[in-house]
């Protein structure tokens, strides 16, 4: 059995780049206007190459107009610009004009450009160096207050600096290698996504490793909240609106990402696209954004001669917690979707600053520790990377990444090939996610409890099972313990084969581990996912939430042990 080493000493990492003036993201924001123009032009070309015929382009514009009108009518958000309705009405009359003029191609392209320019302006973040510093110190300061106030139990503890975030957030993995590579090439971090807090957490990790800020796509709904909007804007976020699913918007988004990577901006993608609704580790990733990494890599090789600074490195990251505050609403979404209720509106659980502060407060005062597992950096083809940035294959031989784009002795652009590369990159990332996942005591407790209930009612399908009354959901403690130990042994064996990782809190005397595990499974939900009843047996108050936490260990084939 291998247990993860938590070498979270109070080590301070020096920034890898000396001054903020060198940060690509600063240079990007200083030239914001020019950058928006570049993205606009590139996106127009993308859409035109996808819709080469004039009438299909006009059809696409009409479809875009229709979808946008629908969005404005059915799902308006506070963050939407005031002139949204007006703009799209104008688009309508422009479209009529175009068809009156015998489908004038120049007018159509002009309209496309205006729409894309609007999108590009909306997407582009507004990084400010001063507010970055401000936001950063505020976050560190207040988090420390919250932490010390709740944990250090003595008078005046509110101002104590006894505990820092590093006591709460354990970073494991090849941090030095990551820092070296950040100096050599461009890093793309791809974390799992369970909670809205992930972006803040990752932001903290990036900062505490001394890395320059990463740009990342944050859901536009987060900008509904003034407080969040301030932090997001200052941390290099760009805005992603999941309601907009039209072609020009998606192409603008991809172009934004590609252009930023080309400029050397380290980026953060949540490759699952959205928070995992089911609590499962992401299995199918969104290929759109990942594809921009492949495309940017090819363009870098095409533009520049042999040079390490051309290289893009992928760093998978798994965030491990004991509980996810949004779990109840997430799992409801998931079950609704599974239950054939095909469409749910992208909802917005964090509509006010008050709610989000409450959320943060409980997270930092009540939640137990969090661990962040950084995966070893790899190139876009799943090869590991050494400290000089060279790709190394399974047999320890150097690989020239450029060769993946070569055909007949030169770098060529083949759209289908890059699609396939993107698909295989997503497989590599998913595989790494499963290997990096740390099994906490709380994960295994939830998994075993749910599986034992499922086993008891093996004839029921998931939905009938979830409707069972509480009093039917009792598991004898000894029986539970016996199964827990059996599964823990299986997990230990899997960790020997590097199929997953064992968190330190999973090891130790069984009763104690189970007790702590139970304490920690989603402990601050109003109804407990798992608890001991008066007789000391295991039961649950909310099977949906138990199902959610049990899903964390889905995908390892553990079910065959029941």
């Amino acid at each position: 059995m291998k247990v993860v080493q938590n070498y979270y000493t109070k080590k301070k990492f020096e920034p890898v780049l000396p001054g903020p003036g060198d940060w690509p993201v600063v240079q990007l924001s200083q030239n914001r206007k020019i950058f928006i123009e570049e993205v606009t032009e590139d996106s127009v070309q993308r859409v035109k190459s996808l819709k080469p015929r004039n009438n299909s382009l006009i059809e696409e514009l009409e479809l875009t107009h229709y979808k946008e009108k629908l969005r404005i009518a059915q799902n308006p958000w506070k963050v939407d610009p005031e002139d949204d309705y007006f703009f799209w009405s104008k688009v309508k009359s422009r479209l009529l004009e175009i068809s009156a003029n015998g489908q004038d191609p120049n007018q159509a392209e002009e309209l496309l450009r205006e729409i894309i320019h609007r999108y590009a302006t909306e997407i582009t973040g507004n990084f400010k160096r001063t507010s970055y510093r401000m936001a950063r110190s505020m976050v560190t300061f207040w988090f420390a207050r919250l932490l010390n106030a709740s944990r250090v139990k003595r008078f005046g503890s509110f101002w104590s600096n006894e505990l820092t975030l590093q006591d709460k957030i354990h970073i494991t993995g090849e941090t030095e290698l990551l820092r070296k590579l950040a100096r050599i090439g461009t890093i793309i971090m791809v974390p799992t996504h369970f909670s809205n807090l992930d972006s803040v957490l990752i932001g903290y990790v990036i900062h505490s490793l001394g890395l320059p800020p990463f740009i990342y796509g944050a859901g536009l709904n987060l900008f509904n909240i003034d407080l969040f909007a301030y932090f997001m804007n200052s941390l290099g976020a760009y805005k992603v609106d999941r309601r907009k699913k039209n072609l020009p918007y998606l192409e603008t988004l991809k172009s934004y990402s590609t252009q930023a990577i080309l400029k050397g901006c380290h980026s953060l993608f949540f490759p699952g696209g959205t928070r995992s609704r089911s609590g499962k580790i992401e299995k199918s990733l969104k290929l759109g954004l990942l594809g921009t990494a492949i495309e940017a890599q090819r363009l870098l090789f095409q533009r520049n001669p042999e040079n390490m600074s051309n290289k893009i490195f992928i760093v998978p990251v798994v965030l491990n917690y004991n509980f996810v505050l949004e779990a109840p609403s997430l799992v409801n979404d998931y079950l609704k979707k599974q239950g054939q209720e095909r469409y749910y509106i992208e909802n917005d659980e964090y509509s006010t600053s008050y709610k989000i502060i409450k959320f943060l407060f409980s997270f930092f005062t009540k939640g137990s520790d969090i661990s962040v597992s950084l995966g070893n950096p790899m190139d876009l083809f799943g090869n590991k990377v050494d400290e000089n940035g060279y790709s190394i294959d399974k047999r320890e031989r150097k690989v020239n990444t450029r060769d993946y784009f070569m055909s007949n002795g030169e770098i060529s652009h083949d759209y289908q090939r890059e699609m396939e590369y993107t698909r295989s990159l997503s497989e590599h990332i998913v595989e790494k996610f499963h290997k990096l996942n740390q099994v906490f005591h709380s994960h295994l407790v939830a998994y075993v409890a749910f599986k034992l209930i499922q086993q008891k009612y093996y004839k029921l399908d998931l939905f009938s099972l979830l409707r069972l009354p509480e009093e039917d959901l009792i598991i004898d403690y000894e029986y539970f313990k016996q199964n827990f130990l059996r599964l823990r042994e299986v997990i230990y064996n899997m960790s020997d084969k590097d199929e997953l990782q064992v968190a330190p809190n999973l090891t130790g005397e069984a009763d104690e581990v189970i007790e702590n595990g139970i304490q920690n499974v989603g402990m601050y939900h109003t109804s407990r996912a798992i608890l001991k009843n008066g007789d000391g047996d295991i039961t649950t108050q909310d099977l949906n939430i138990l199902y959610y936490y049990h899903n964390r260990l889905d995908g390892y084939g553990l079910e065959k042990h029941f």
Binding site: D393, R397, V399, N400, S407, D414, Q416, R417, E420
Partner: protein, 351 residues
């Protein structure tokens, strides 16, 4: 770009009958280098323009140097028996780069990741992740990602006689399919494309089981009703197995599936067919293996497939009974008798 293409040679690994046939086809469109493991075959090709006695185009350049082959060629066709495939890949891997395109023509399965001795014990389980198709071996052993395969009704002797025929090049990459088509296509050879790489590989692999059974039918002196029965039921069995091992139904209905199945089940030119034929005539497996020059992939495929079918709980009556004939001492008569009593109800239920 086209001018550059013509300057680089195309490689073939393996100078057996199918490798030689493919070399002859390629020689019409490109400069061809063929690798043979044994020096005397290299000499035979050089001096007599024959390989194992089979005619080979005089423009084909033989070599016994894998490094030279990998450096001279961007596109390589590995066509060696499945039992040597991983070893061969291991040898050439240091010279391969991500720009290489590999299109293999080997219709067998690889087991070398696991302990061979143990696997065929009666109670050892064999799951799909211990068994690899050749494209999977290529990706495991080398950095090559642009991988494809070649399958279809391509009896080597007929190809060498330049009779009309067609094949499928399957790959996840359109550029691999295009390269395959550009290099292989001629007035007498049609090349189709497919994106279902594993499906096409499996179709080519699993049909060898049915081919042995078909040989047995001929060996027993039975007629075309019996063979048609075997082919159509064999097809159903292949589809069930193929789906469980990761392929789609479509591949089995194409050239690599039904096409290849009909060709190998009807022709005494097929090695697998002749294994079945001689079994039915009363020879033992040892006698047959001793006198065969080249490997009949179907024998090993039957062993592995039977194990896999057990693991996934699939009904595979033809495979199971052929396994009994090959390895458990059952006679062909008994197997046929058993199959005729097997309770099948629905004709087709996979569509």
């Amino acid at each position: 770009m086209a001018s550059k293409n013509t300057s680089k040679a195309v490689g073939i690994i393996g100078a057996g009958s199918f490798g030689t046939a493919i070399a002859n086809i390629l020689a019409n469109n490109a400069r061809v280098i063929v690798y043979a493991r044994k020096q005397d075959i290299v000499d035979e090709i050089k001096n007599n323009n024959t390989s194992y006695g089979q005619k080979i185009d005089s423009r084909v350049e033989p070599t016994s140097d894998l490094e030279y082959l990998a450096e001279s060629c961007d596109v390589i066709f590995p066509i060696v028996p499945s039992s040597n495939f991983r070893k061969m890949m291991n040898q050439i891997a240091p010279f391969l780069h991500p720009y290489h395109i590999l299109i293999h023509g080997t219709k067998g399965l690889d087991l070398s990741k696991s302990d061979m001795g143990q696997i065929f014990d009666d109670d050892t389980l064999l799951s799909r992740n211990k068994v690899n198709t050749m494209s999977e071996v290529i990706k495991e052993e080398s950095v090559v990602v642009r991988v494809g395969c070649l399958a279809g009704p391509n009896l080597a002797k007929e190809l060498t006689d330049e009779q009309p025929a067609a094949t499928v090049v399957a790959s996840h990459f359109d550029e691999v399919i295009r390269e395959g088509q550009r290099l292989l296509r001629s007035d007498r050879f049609q090349v189709y494309g497919s994106r279902d790489l594993v499906g096409v590989e499996l179709a080519g692999i699993l049909k060898n089981i049915i081919a042995i059974a078909s040989g047995a039918i001929s060996g027993m002196g039975l007629g075309e009703n019996a063979r048609a029965l075997l082919i159509s039921r064999g097809m159903v069995e292949m589809i069930y197995l193929g789906r469980a091992f990761g392929g789609n139904v479509q591949a089995f209905l194409g050239l690599a599936g039904i096409g290849d199945l009909i060709a190998t089940c009807s022709s005494p030119l097929s090695r697998n067919f002749s294994v079945g034929y001689r079994l039915a005539k009363g020879e033992t497996l040892e006698q047959i293996l001793d006198s065969m020059e080249e490997v009949a992939e179907g024998i090993n495929t039957t062993r592995i497939t039977k194990k896999l079918a057990e693991f996934y709980n699939l009904r595979a009556p033809i495979t199971e009974n052929l396994h009994k004939v090959l390895f458990e001492g059952m006679t062909v008569d008994e197997a046929l008798h058993y199959l005729m009593k097997y309770p099948f109800n629905v004709d087709i239920d996979f569509l």
